[in-house]
Symmetry: C2
Amino acid sequence: MTTPSRIEADYIIETAFDPLAAAEAMAGEQSSGTFVAIPGETPELKARSAARIEALEPLESVEAPSLPGAGRPKLGDATVRRARVTLSWPLDNVGPSLPNLMATVAGNLFELKQFSGLRLIDIRLPQAFGDAYPGPKFSVAGTRRLAGVEGRPLIGTIVKPSVGFGPQETAALVSQLCDAGIDFIKDDELQSDGPHCRFDARVRAVMEVINDHAERTGKKVMFAFNLTGEIDQMRWRHDLVLEQGGTCVMASLNSVGLVGMIELCRFTQLPVHAHRNGWGYLSRAPMLGWSYVAWQKIWRLAGADHMHVNGLANKFSEADDSVIASARECLTPMFPDKPCIAMPVFSSGQSAKQAPGTFAALGSPDLIFAAGGGIMAHPDGPAAGVASLREAWDAAIARVPLADYARDHAALARALEAYAG
Amino acid sequence: MTTPSRIEADYIIETAFDPLAAAEAMAGEQSSGTFVAIPGETPELKARSAARIEALEPLESVEAPSLPGAGRPKLGDATVRRARVTLSWPLDNVGPSLPNLMATVAGNLFELKQFSGLRLIDIRLPQAFGDAYPGPKFSVAGTRRLAGVEGRPLIGTIVKPSVGFGPQETAALVSQLCDAGIDFIKDDELQSDGPHCRFDARVRAVMEVINDHAERTGKKVMFAFNLTGEIDQMRWRHDLVLEQGGTCVMASLNSVGLVGMIELCRFTQLPVHAHRNGWGYLSRAPMLGWSYVAWQKIWRLAGADHMHVNGLANKFSEADDSVIASARECLTPMFPDKPCIAMPVFSSGQSAKQAPGTFAALGSPDLIFAAGGGIMAHPDGPAAGVASLREAWDAAIARVPLADYARDHAALARALEAYAG
């Protein structure tokens, strides 16, 4: 782990201009420059405040520009080339402020005419950022303690249908899932405080079930209540969950935004389950936007305890290697004395069959493994669905092939048949 | 203007599947569905909560998918087709909550495997949203009153160098600009409270200059102080600006995020100048992300008084017709009794020469026209730079060609030479 003295950001750029000249334009735009030389821009000021090109590694040339609207040199070579560029800024350009970091590393540069592609790949922050922000208050250890699960992933699920259930129907489903042996349940991101399923009524109905189940069995299921809303609503909802004995709150990162999330995470006394819905619009064009590696650092430092990373063989468009890179990064320390580890949350089309691949690629059981249909649509019902995931993870951690393990584990055997497709 | 009873959103989709089937998957994912049929999903529940396809208009076929990772049908035709789709949701799925609207209209759908392209084009909201949010508190009329400018655009500029000036250097520049006759000045988005230019010291130094100038001349220049920061910092900074006699605050939308902006706008007693830096990563891939037409509605309803729209012949990659569509939309009412008009802010490589085209396309002088180099790099200095923009707008509104008007307007004449390139 390197903790730099300057703010550093890595980009992949694509340009028809000289890549170095294009990178210089980018560095100027994001620090002391404008489109013409101006009176106040002295050499001393530039020395103090200018962004610096730390590295520029040429990559491949491409046949056509990835994005429209880019310029071309008027004369000479107009080959479209890619390069990996590292820029750095003095910490004192912005100070250790996450909101102001955003405009610096991810502000007005994606639209620069020099580029037919520009993607933020990674960021590295000075220690002052680690000192200024709380990071996750619960992280892996706190989540495990509250959920009572050690040495294996938390097996989780999502309340489905996403929208439509009222508080009592949600509580009835939760009761079924508690009986099925689930560790973790989350609200769907579409449901926070809809008129048919008010947050207040849902928390009370669900926590009655969870508390009853905990009294009877000693196991308190962790439920991530989606409190996404305005600041005061989120505070009030958090306090209600805490008062009712709940152990987790959930918020949608792209709905709440950075400043709201910082506020929630400073305030929270419960783990914050961070949902990334909308991530596709930030990332799906390969030569634009954000890599998850860069993006998740912002939210972990702000205080997210759990970060969604999609799942292997998911129902979305993301490739498996990208999913694993995201999950590994969530488990990689950010600062020596403040690791900011977030528990990666695997979900989307997950069932027993993805456990071995997930464990093999990640090398850690510190994750939440969430399945919707993979539990509820198990041919022998939700209890068998949960059992099949527990068995699959036991097999994965013991490095026993699922097919072998399934010989004397019926729930797993039935899951492998049912989700073979 | 239509005010629908359901939440409506228009998308351009691109898919190798039957577009109707793909749109159905999208509607399911964003309301009551998951990837298999599940027990609780009754016909009654679907009738109450399911998203509906309101319209589907086939568009062109394309040779290759725009984005990677999309699926293809296993058998039969795999032509990649585009279509314009309108989905609608019952208001009661989420209630009139902007943060929860986000997950519904712009959540987990950009990554769906059915699509090699998906872009949110527009949204239309029920009246309940208009009742639940403040909208801009100042808008055009309030901004004009505070700035003392009627019948023409506010002529504005940006503090440059973006980063590097301290409070006294900033104040000295402001003094020069006040003398030059400017109406509006904004901080650069890179500068909020950096250690070399603390917000507190900058506000005090700048407002001393502006207040002095106002006492001498009767004209109080509007300065948009960039208060981007955490919630309590923004509150405190707003109060300082107000106390010092300032008339505007600025915040970066993508740095603060939705919930922080809602909080700021509910709290503010000053116009909120909303900066869109980072917009490129949301929009530059043509078949992904957000159109500005959809996006700006969210922020206007939240309360942004001024919205950045780029400028004609800008230094970025955006085409002129897109800039004009954005600006027109900011001036189009959202609800009959709550128009939420935001003043469009033109900037980026602007000088006198863009005035006629801007006025012709927009048909309104209700805008802020901001130039950096277009003022500061005028060959005869900033006063001539401001004069050239005033003259250019006088000509544009009078529909006199600039070249004609320049014959007896020296500042404009020199500007047309200097910025001819």
